[in-house]
Amino acid sequence: MIPAPFTYRRAGTVAEALEMAAESGEDAKYLAGGHSLLPLMKLRLAVPEVLIDIGRLREAAYVRDEGGHIAIGALTRHHDLATSGLLASRVPLLAYAAGCVGDPQVRHRGTIGGSLAHGDPAADLPAVILALDATLVAQGPGGTREIAAADFFQGLYETALAPGELLTEIRVKRPESAGWSFQKFTKRAIDWAIVGVAAQGDRVALVNMGMTPMRAVAVEQALAAGLAPEQAASHAADGTSPPEDINATAAYRQHLARVLVGRALAQARARG
């Protein structure tokens, strides 16, 4: 299986990438590791006319301690997140979850920026940055702007990135509460999560429970109101309309969300 024809362009710098995007118009796509986009292109579910390869922008692959926050370059690969000593000590939730993405080969190519920009509600890392309340940095023709994780995911495969805008960095402040948990429920290890839960302290986010990755608002409110974790977890599916597919009915997903949020909160408390 081979993608439909397209024009390949390789960017040497962020500035060059933005320039290429401006030239190429709406049918251009950025290509980072390619592990979200290329499979869709091979099935011809995505048919971009131009691919702008940003995979060589090594300047955008890093995990750095910036004092007030940890800065993660958007082109940092899952493998490098999973094996980062800095993340393991400062943001273990992200390191652990990155090690759950796909399989080793996918983690050797896929990047955090590519995963987030793809905006797939079934992906692991979007929920993680929601639970971390991270800030995303995007560069576009008009300059650089910051986007709160909570504002980033806007619909199925839709993000706050404007056409041509490039996600360059993810910033994570030191979590107020150290306890964390990532629960990925799958049929097989390599599958997408049927349901997933990311918890950092009392901030909880859900994988594959709707059109976008989402915070479990009702759970967070219940915790804030002083409910015990197991009671709070019973609100995990409140207000969600999860998808139905061959792996799960909506009701089963809602049940799983309650069970997994309960486990995540218990584990986070135990670690906190």
Partner: protein, 157 residues
């Protein structure tokens, strides 16, 4: 476009369509057919090769993306004098292959796994091979072979 990839130590240059996948480049431009294609969804791992030393699925990488990089396929794993790599030897000794179709990808995935974790547990081996399907062995002998190769790697030759 013109792409040059160093495959098994030898640079291969070819003028290919932009959409050419790395696995096609290897098979068609390189004439190296050990690397197989078993799916279209980055699921089966039959096409696994080492890219700059790490396992990747060559069906989900454009040749253009890795222009200038170094790729190792099964054909390049044995030493120049023909001595098999410890993982190849262990696969042979432990009967870790049957029809051989998943084998090139499985071996390359195992080499990458052991490079990152030279002393894995059985569960770590199984997790490390999650991206490679084998339909014949039930994985039992593959897991044994990878553990045996790890042991061999730790012992002085």
């Amino acid at each position: 476009m013109n792409v040059t990839i160093t495959v098994n130590g030898t640079p291969i240059t070819a003028d290919v369509a932009d959409r050419t996948l790395l696995v096609q480049f290897l098979r068609e431009a390189g004439g190296l057919t050990a690397t197989n294609v078993g799916c279209d969804t980055t699921s089966c791992g039959a096409c696994t090769v080492l890219l700059d030393g790490e396992s990747v699925k060559s069906c989900t990488v454009l040749a253009a993306q890795v222009d200038g990089s170094a790729v190792t396929t099964l054909e390049g794993l044995a030493s120049p004098d023909g001595q098999m790599h410890p993982v190849q030897r262990a696969f042979h000794a432990e009967h870790a292959l049957q029809c051989g179709f998943c084998t090139p990808g499985m071996v390359m995935a195992a080499v990458s796994l052991l490079a990152e974790n030279p002393d894995p547990t059985q569960d770590e081996v199984r997790a490390g091979l999650e991206g490679n399907l084998c339909r014949g062995t039930g994985y039992h002998h593959i897991v044994r072979a990878v553990l045996a190769a790890a042991r061999a790697g730790r012992e002085p030759a």
